[in-house]
Subunit: 192 residues, 2 copies
Amino acid sequence: MPYPKDHAEKSRGKILASAYKFFVWKGFDATSIDEIMQDCQMTRGAFYWHFQSKTQLYREAIVHAALQSRLAGDKPQDVSEQAWLGELLDAYLDKDTSAKTEWPCPLAFFVSDVTHREPDVRHAYTKAFSAMNAHIHGHANRYAECREGTVLAVTAMLIGAVAITRTIDDDLLRGRLLDACRELAAGQLGLE
Amino acid sequence: MPYPKDHAEKSRGKILASAYKFFVWKGFDATSIDEIMQDCQMTRGAFYWHFQSKTQLYREAIVHAALQSRLAGDKPQDVSEQAWLGELLDAYLDKDTSAKTEWPCPLAFFVSDVTHREPDVRHAYTKAFSAMNAHIHGHANRYAECREGTVLAVTAMLIGAVAITRTIDDDLLRGRLLDACRELAAGQLGLE
DNA sequence: GTCTATAGAAAGATAGAC
DNA sequence: GTCTATCTTTCTATAGAC
Protein backbone atom coordinates (compact mmCIF):
# COMPACT_ATOMS: atom_id res chain seq x y z
CA MET A 1 0.00 0.00 0.00
CA PRO A 2 1.37 3.39 -1.03
CA TYR A 3 0.25 5.39 2.04
CA PRO A 4 0.57 4.47 5.75
CA LYS A 5 -2.85 4.21 7.34
CA ASP A 6 -2.50 7.35 9.48
CA HIS A 7 -1.28 9.39 6.55
CA ALA A 8 -4.58 11.11 5.86
CA GLU A 9 -5.00 12.08 9.49
CA LYS A 10 -1.49 13.51 9.62
CA SER A 11 -1.96 15.56 6.48
CA ARG A 12 -5.23 16.88 7.78
CA GLY A 13 -3.65 17.98 11.05
CA LYS A 14 -0.80 19.60 9.17
CA ILE A 15 -3.22 21.60 7.04
CA LEU A 16 -5.21 22.64 10.10
CA ALA A 17 -2.12 23.83 11.99
CA SER A 18 -0.68 25.66 9.01
CA ALA A 19 -4.00 27.30 8.23
CA TYR A 20 -4.35 28.51 11.79
CA LYS A 21 -0.90 30.03 11.64
CA PHE A 22 -1.84 32.01 8.55
CA PHE A 23 -5.24 33.03 9.91
CA VAL A 24 -3.53 34.41 13.01
CA TRP A 25 -0.88 36.17 11.02
CA LYS A 26 -2.83 37.55 8.04
CA GLY A 27 -6.50 37.06 8.83
CA PHE A 28 -9.00 34.79 7.13
CA ASP A 29 -9.61 36.76 3.97
CA ALA A 30 -6.00 37.52 3.20
CA THR A 31 -5.03 33.88 3.56
CA SER A 32 -5.26 31.82 0.40
CA ILE A 33 -5.60 28.06 0.22
CA ASP A 34 -2.60 28.10 -2.08
CA GLU A 35 -0.24 29.50 0.52
CA ILE A 36 -1.50 27.16 3.21
CA MET A 37 -0.90 24.18 0.99
CA GLN A 38 2.48 25.45 -0.16
CA ASP A 39 3.43 25.69 3.49
CA CYS A 40 2.39 22.05 3.86
CA GLN A 41 4.30 21.15 0.72
CA MET A 42 1.17 20.05 -1.04
CA THR A 43 -1.13 21.55 -3.65
CA ARG A 44 -4.71 22.74 -3.85
CA GLY A 45 -5.98 19.40 -5.03
CA ALA A 46 -5.08 17.75 -1.74
CA PHE A 47 -6.87 20.46 0.20
CA TYR A 48 -10.23 19.75 -1.37
CA TRP A 49 -9.87 16.10 -0.63
CA HIS A 50 -9.61 16.86 3.10
CA PHE A 51 -11.95 19.82 3.38
CA GLN A 52 -15.08 20.89 1.64
CA SER A 53 -14.40 24.61 1.65
CA LYS A 54 -12.28 27.35 3.14
CA THR A 55 -15.10 28.17 5.53
CA GLN A 56 -15.24 24.62 6.85
CA LEU A 57 -11.50 24.79 7.43
CA TYR A 58 -11.95 27.99 9.41
CA ARG A 59 -14.66 26.50 11.57
CA GLU A 60 -12.66 23.37 12.31
CA ALA A 61 -9.55 25.37 13.06
CA ILE A 62 -11.44 27.47 15.60
CA VAL A 63 -12.93 24.42 17.28
CA HIS A 64 -9.57 22.70 17.39
CA ALA A 65 -7.79 25.76 18.78
CA ALA A 66 -10.38 26.17 21.51
CA LEU A 67 -9.79 22.57 22.57
CA GLN A 68 -6.05 23.14 22.72
CA SER A 69 -6.46 25.84 25.35
CA ARG A 70 -4.76 25.09 28.65
CA LEU A 71 -8.03 26.17 30.24
CA ALA A 72 -9.62 23.08 28.71
CA GLY A 73 -6.90 20.85 30.13
CA ASP A 74 -6.27 19.47 33.60
CA LYS A 75 -4.78 21.28 36.57
CA PRO A 76 -1.57 19.73 37.91
CA GLN A 77 -2.31 18.11 41.26
CA ASP A 78 0.45 19.91 43.13
CA VAL A 79 -0.89 23.38 42.31
CA SER A 80 -3.77 25.09 44.11
CA GLU A 81 -6.86 26.17 42.19
CA GLN A 82 -6.06 29.79 42.76
CA ALA A 83 -2.43 29.47 41.69
CA TRP A 84 -3.49 27.58 38.58
CA LEU A 85 -6.07 30.10 37.53
CA GLY A 86 -3.56 32.87 38.18
CA GLU A 87 -1.03 31.15 35.99
CA LEU A 88 -3.51 30.76 33.15
CA LEU A 89 -4.49 34.40 33.51
CA ASP A 90 -0.87 35.54 33.33
CA ALA A 91 -0.22 33.41 30.28
CA TYR A 92 -3.35 34.69 28.54
CA LEU A 93 -2.37 38.30 29.09
CA ASP A 94 1.34 37.89 28.38
CA LYS A 95 1.94 39.63 25.11
CA ASP A 96 4.91 37.44 24.27
CA THR A 97 3.50 33.99 24.89
CA SER A 98 -0.03 34.81 23.83
CA ALA A 99 0.98 35.34 20.22
CA LYS A 100 3.79 32.79 20.09
CA THR A 101 1.87 29.77 21.25
CA GLU A 102 0.88 27.47 18.42
CA TRP A 103 -2.87 27.87 19.00
CA PRO A 104 -3.56 31.41 20.20
CA CYS A 105 -7.05 32.03 21.54
CA PRO A 106 -9.48 32.22 18.61
CA LEU A 107 -11.97 34.16 20.69
CA ALA A 108 -9.60 37.10 20.90
CA PHE A 109 -7.78 36.77 17.61
CA PHE A 110 -10.82 36.39 15.36
CA VAL A 111 -13.60 38.16 17.23
CA SER A 112 -14.56 40.78 14.67
CA ASP A 113 -13.57 38.49 11.82
CA VAL A 114 -16.02 35.73 12.71
CA THR A 115 -18.82 38.30 12.92
CA HIS A 116 -19.17 38.30 9.15
CA ARG A 117 -18.79 34.57 8.57
CA GLU A 118 -21.36 31.84 7.97
CA PRO A 119 -23.74 30.86 10.80
CA ASP A 120 -21.92 27.63 11.60
CA VAL A 121 -18.64 29.46 12.13
CA ARG A 122 -20.35 31.90 14.46
CA HIS A 123 -21.93 28.99 16.25
CA ALA A 124 -18.54 27.37 16.79
CA TYR A 125 -17.32 30.67 18.19
CA THR A 126 -20.29 30.90 20.54
CA LYS A 127 -19.66 27.39 21.84
CA ALA A 128 -16.01 28.19 22.46
CA PHE A 129 -16.94 31.37 24.28
CA SER A 130 -19.36 29.50 26.51
CA ALA A 131 -16.72 26.87 27.18
CA MET A 132 -14.16 29.47 28.23
CA ASN A 133 -16.65 30.94 30.69
CA ALA A 134 -17.60 27.52 32.03
CA HIS A 135 -13.97 26.58 32.58
CA ILE A 136 -13.16 29.78 34.46
CA HIS A 137 -16.35 29.51 36.45
CA GLY A 138 -15.55 25.90 37.31
CA HIS A 139 -12.12 26.77 38.66
CA ALA A 140 -13.20 29.88 40.53
CA ASN A 141 -16.13 28.19 42.22
CA ARG A 142 -13.84 25.64 43.88
CA TYR A 143 -12.34 28.19 46.22
CA ALA A 144 -14.96 30.96 46.45
CA GLU A 145 -18.43 32.08 45.57
CA CYS A 146 -18.38 33.33 42.00
CA ARG A 147 -21.33 34.58 40.02
CA GLU A 148 -21.73 33.82 36.34
CA GLY A 149 -21.88 37.52 35.56
CA THR A 150 -18.51 38.15 37.11
CA VAL A 151 -16.95 35.54 34.88
CA LEU A 152 -18.67 36.85 31.77
CA ALA A 153 -17.42 40.37 32.40
CA VAL A 154 -13.88 39.18 33.10
CA THR A 155 -13.86 37.02 29.99
CA ALA A 156 -15.02 39.92 27.84
CA MET A 157 -12.23 42.04 29.30
CA LEU A 158 -9.58 39.39 28.65
CA ILE A 159 -10.71 38.83 25.08
CA GLY A 160 -10.95 42.55 24.49
CA ALA A 161 -7.54 43.16 25.97
CA VAL A 162 -5.79 40.58 23.82
CA ALA A 163 -7.60 41.68 20.68
CA ILE A 164 -6.78 45.33 21.30
CA THR A 165 -3.18 44.51 22.18
CA ARG A 166 -2.71 42.93 18.79
CA THR A 167 -4.20 45.90 17.02
CA ILE A 168 -2.65 48.97 18.61
CA ASP A 169 0.85 50.04 17.63
CA ASP A 170 2.03 51.50 20.93
CA ASP A 171 4.06 49.08 22.97
CA LEU A 172 3.94 51.09 26.19
CA LEU A 173 0.18 51.38 25.98
CA ARG A 174 -0.04 47.64 25.36
CA GLY A 175 1.87 46.99 28.56
CA ARG A 176 -0.28 49.32 30.66
CA LEU A 177 -3.45 47.82 29.21
CA LEU A 178 -2.45 44.24 29.93
CA ASP A 179 -1.27 45.08 33.44
CA ALA A 180 -4.50 46.85 34.25
CA CYS A 181 -6.62 43.99 32.97
CA ARG A 182 -4.58 41.43 34.85
CA GLU A 183 -5.10 43.35 38.06
CA LEU A 184 -8.85 43.80 37.66
CA ALA A 185 -9.32 40.19 36.60
CA ALA A 186 -7.33 38.90 39.57
CA GLY A 187 -9.43 41.02 41.89
CA GLN A 188 -12.71 39.87 40.45
CA LEU A 189 -11.69 36.22 40.54
CA GLY A 190 -10.40 36.45 44.10
CA LEU A 191 -6.80 35.71 43.21
CA GLU A 192 -5.10 38.34 45.30
CA MET B 1 -20.53 76.49 -13.11
CA PRO B 2 -21.82 72.92 -13.32
CA TYR B 3 -21.20 71.94 -9.68
CA PRO B 4 -22.10 73.90 -6.51
CA LYS B 5 -18.98 74.72 -4.52
CA ASP B 6 -19.72 72.31 -1.68
CA HIS B 7 -20.50 69.47 -4.05
CA ALA B 8 -17.18 67.69 -3.66
CA GLU B 9 -17.40 67.81 0.12
CA LYS B 10 -20.91 66.41 0.09
CA SER B 11 -19.98 63.56 -2.20
CA ARG B 12 -17.01 62.74 -0.05
CA GLY B 13 -19.11 62.62 3.08
CA LYS B 14 -21.67 60.46 1.34
CA ILE B 15 -18.99 57.97 0.31
CA LEU B 16 -17.56 57.91 3.80
CA ALA B 17 -20.92 57.26 5.44
CA SER B 18 -21.92 54.63 2.94
CA ALA B 19 -18.56 52.89 3.21
CA TYR B 20 -18.82 52.79 6.97
CA LYS B 21 -22.24 51.21 6.74
CA PHE B 22 -20.86 48.43 4.54
CA PHE B 23 -17.75 47.93 6.66
CA VAL B 24 -19.95 47.48 9.71
CA TRP B 25 -22.30 45.15 7.94
CA LYS B 26 -19.95 43.01 5.84
CA GLY B 27 -16.44 43.78 7.00
CA PHE B 28 -13.64 45.52 5.14
CA ASP B 29 -12.57 42.73 2.83
CA ALA B 30 -16.04 41.70 1.76
CA THR B 31 -16.96 45.27 0.88
CA SER B 32 -16.19 46.31 -2.67
CA ILE B 33 -15.71 49.84 -3.87
CA ASP B 34 -18.31 49.09 -6.51
CA GLU B 35 -21.09 48.45 -4.04
CA ILE B 36 -20.21 51.50 -1.98
CA MET B 37 -20.38 53.69 -5.03
CA GLN B 38 -23.55 52.06 -6.28
CA ASP B 39 -25.08 52.88 -2.92
CA CYS B 40 -24.01 56.49 -3.46
CA GLN B 41 -25.37 56.39 -7.00
CA MET B 42 -21.96 57.03 -8.48
CA THR B 43 -19.32 54.86 -10.13
CA ARG B 44 -15.78 53.75 -9.39
CA GLY B 45 -14.26 56.63 -11.27
CA ALA B 46 -15.63 59.13 -8.80
CA PHE B 47 -14.26 57.16 -5.90
CA TYR B 48 -10.69 57.46 -7.06
CA TRP B 49 -11.05 61.14 -7.47
CA HIS B 50 -11.93 61.52 -3.77
CA PHE B 51 -9.73 58.80 -2.28
CA GLN B 52 -6.40 57.32 -3.12
CA SER B 53 -7.18 53.77 -2.13
CA LYS B 54 -9.59 51.54 -0.26
CA THR B 55 -7.20 51.53 2.68
CA GLN B 56 -7.18 55.30 2.92
CA LEU B 57 -10.96 55.22 2.90
CA TYR B 58 -10.92 52.77 5.79
CA ARG B 59 -8.55 54.88 7.82
CA GLU B 60 -10.56 58.03 7.29
CA ALA B 61 -13.80 56.26 8.09
CA ILE B 62 -12.38 55.05 11.39
CA VAL B 63 -11.11 58.49 12.33
CA HIS B 64 -14.41 60.08 11.40
CA ALA B 65 -16.46 57.51 13.33
CA ALA B 66 -14.34 57.99 16.43
CA LEU B 67 -15.00 61.73 16.28
CA GLN B 68 -18.75 61.14 15.99
CA SER B 69 -18.81 59.33 19.35
CA ARG B 70 -21.01 60.97 21.95
CA LEU B 71 -18.07 60.49 24.30
CA ALA B 72 -16.17 63.04 22.22
CA GLY B 73 -19.02 65.51 22.48
CA ASP B 74 -20.16 67.83 25.24
CA LYS B 75 -22.13 66.95 28.31
CA PRO B 76 -25.50 68.74 28.64
CA GLN B 77 -25.24 71.28 31.44
CA ASP B 78 -28.32 70.04 33.30
CA VAL B 79 -26.93 66.52 33.75
CA SER B 80 -24.41 65.48 36.38
CA GLU B 81 -21.09 63.95 35.38
CA GLN B 82 -22.06 60.62 36.84
CA ALA B 83 -25.45 60.54 35.18
CA TRP B 84 -23.88 61.48 31.88
CA LEU B 85 -21.21 58.81 32.00
CA GLY B 86 -23.86 56.30 33.05
CA GLU B 87 -25.98 57.24 30.08
CA LEU B 88 -23.09 56.85 27.67
CA LEU B 89 -22.25 53.49 29.22
CA ASP B 90 -25.83 52.26 28.82
CA ALA B 91 -25.94 53.39 25.21
CA TYR B 92 -22.62 51.73 24.44
CA LEU B 93 -23.75 48.41 25.86
CA ASP B 94 -27.28 48.51 24.48
CA LYS B 95 -27.40 45.85 21.81
CA ASP B 96 -30.13 47.63 19.90
CA THR B 97 -28.77 51.15 19.70
CA SER B 98 -25.14 50.15 19.48
CA ALA B 99 -25.58 48.59 16.05
CA LYS B 100 -28.27 50.90 14.77
CA THR B 101 -26.49 54.18 15.28
CA GLU B 102 -24.99 55.58 12.11
CA TRP B 103 -21.42 55.45 13.37
CA PRO B 104 -20.99 52.44 15.63
CA CYS B 105 -17.78 52.32 17.64
CA PRO B 106 -14.92 51.35 15.30
CA LEU B 107 -12.84 50.17 18.23
CA ALA B 108 -15.28 47.35 18.92
CA PHE B 109 -16.54 46.67 15.42
CA PHE B 110 -13.19 46.42 13.68
CA VAL B 111 -10.78 45.37 16.39
CA SER B 112 -9.47 42.13 14.88
CA ASP B 113 -9.97 43.45 11.38
CA VAL B 114 -7.63 46.40 11.80
CA THR B 115 -4.96 44.07 13.18
CA HIS B 116 -4.00 42.99 9.68
CA ARG B 117 -4.20 46.39 8.01
CA GLU B 118 -1.51 48.87 7.04
CA PRO B 119 0.42 50.68 9.79
CA ASP B 120 -1.41 53.98 9.32
CA VAL B 121 -4.78 52.29 9.84
CA ARG B 122 -3.53 50.67 13.00
CA HIS B 123 -2.18 54.02 14.11
CA ALA B 124 -5.56 55.66 13.62
CA TYR B 125 -7.09 52.88 15.70
CA THR B 126 -4.53 53.41 18.44
CA LYS B 127 -5.26 57.13 18.57
CA ALA B 128 -8.98 56.47 18.80
CA PHE B 129 -8.43 53.98 21.59
CA SER B 130 -6.34 56.47 23.53
CA ALA B 131 -8.99 59.14 22.98
CA MET B 132 -11.74 56.90 24.32
CA ASN B 133 -9.72 56.25 27.46
CA ALA B 134 -8.91 59.92 27.88
CA HIS B 135 -12.55 60.91 27.57
CA ILE B 136 -13.73 58.39 30.13
CA HIS B 137 -10.89 59.30 32.44
CA GLY B 138 -11.73 62.97 32.06
CA HIS B 139 -15.34 62.48 33.05
CA ALA B 140 -14.65 60.06 35.89
CA ASN B 141 -11.98 62.24 37.45
CA ARG B 142 -14.43 65.08 37.91
CA TYR B 143 -16.35 63.29 40.64
CA ALA B 144 -13.87 60.78 42.07
CA GLU B 145 -10.30 59.54 42.12
CA CYS B 146 -9.84 57.31 39.12
CA ARG B 147 -6.64 55.61 38.07
CA GLU B 148 -5.66 55.27 34.42
CA GLY B 149 -5.48 51.50 34.80
CA THR B 150 -9.06 51.27 35.91
CA VAL B 151 -10.20 53.09 32.81
CA LEU B 152 -8.03 50.96 30.51
CA ALA B 153 -9.45 47.76 31.94
CA VAL B 154 -13.02 49.03 31.71
CA THR B 155 -12.51 50.18 28.14
CA ALA B 156 -11.10 46.80 27.13
CA MET B 157 -14.13 45.15 28.69
CA LEU B 158 -16.58 47.43 26.88
CA ILE B 159 -14.90 46.95 23.54
CA GLY B 160 -14.63 43.21 24.10
CA ALA B 161 -18.26 42.99 25.14
CA VAL B 162 -19.58 44.79 22.07
CA ALA B 163 -17.33 42.86 19.70
CA ILE B 164 -18.32 39.53 21.23
CA THR B 165 -22.00 40.48 21.27
CA ARG B 166 -21.88 41.00 17.54
CA THR B 167 -20.21 37.67 16.96
CA ILE B 168 -22.06 35.16 19.11
CA ASP B 169 -25.38 33.75 17.92
CA ASP B 170 -27.09 33.29 21.29
CA ASP B 171 -29.37 36.14 22.20
CA LEU B 172 -29.82 35.18 25.84
CA LEU B 173 -26.07 34.93 26.32
CA ARG B 174 -25.69 38.32 24.67
CA GLY B 175 -28.05 39.82 27.21
CA ARG B 176 -26.32 38.29 30.20
CA LEU B 177 -22.92 39.36 28.89
CA LEU B 178 -23.95 42.97 28.37
CA ASP B 179 -25.69 43.17 31.75
CA ALA B 180 -22.67 41.78 33.53
CA CYS B 181 -20.30 44.20 31.82
CA ARG B 182 -22.54 47.15 32.55
CA GLU B 183 -22.56 46.25 36.22
CA LEU B 184 -18.83 45.80 36.55
CA ALA B 185 -18.10 48.96 34.56
CA ALA B 186 -20.49 51.01 36.69
CA GLY B 187 -18.86 49.70 39.83
CA GLN B 188 -15.35 50.45 38.64
CA LEU B 189 -16.28 53.94 37.51
CA GLY B 190 -18.11 54.74 40.73
CA LEU B 191 -21.52 55.10 39.12
CA GLU B 192 -23.60 53.14 41.60
C1' DG C 1 -4.34 10.87 -1.48
C1' DT C 2 -2.17 14.07 -4.25
C1' DC C 3 -1.26 16.15 -8.68
C1' DT C 4 -2.00 19.47 -12.82
C1' DA C 5 -5.00 22.21 -15.53
C1' DT C 6 -8.60 25.18 -15.87
C1' DA C 7 -13.07 27.15 -15.34
C1' DG C 8 -15.28 31.12 -13.67
C1' DA C 9 -15.91 35.14 -10.99
C1' DA C 10 -14.53 39.24 -8.73
C1' DA C 11 -11.93 43.12 -7.23
C1' DG C 12 -8.42 47.16 -7.05
C1' DA C 13 -6.63 50.51 -9.65
C1' DT C 14 -5.64 53.41 -13.99
C1' DA C 15 -6.62 56.11 -18.46
C1' DG C 16 -8.91 59.17 -20.88
C1' DA C 17 -13.48 61.06 -22.47
C1' DC C 18 -16.85 64.60 -21.21
C1' DG D 1 -16.22 65.77 -10.62
C1' DT D 2 -18.01 61.84 -12.65
C1' DC D 3 -18.28 58.36 -16.30
C1' DT D 4 -16.96 54.20 -19.14
C1' DA D 5 -13.61 50.95 -20.54
C1' DT D 6 -9.93 48.14 -19.45
C1' DC D 7 -5.72 46.16 -17.47
C1' DT D 8 -4.11 43.00 -14.27
C1' DT D 9 -4.13 40.08 -10.52
C1' DT D 10 -5.96 36.84 -7.46
C1' DC D 11 -8.81 33.49 -5.60
C1' DT D 12 -12.24 29.53 -4.85
C1' DA D 13 -13.61 25.45 -6.53
C1' DT D 14 -13.94 21.57 -9.91
C1' DA D 15 -12.34 17.78 -13.27
C1' DG D 16 -9.79 14.22 -14.27
C1' DA D 17 -5.07 11.97 -14.50
C1' DC D 18 -2.06 8.95 -11.78
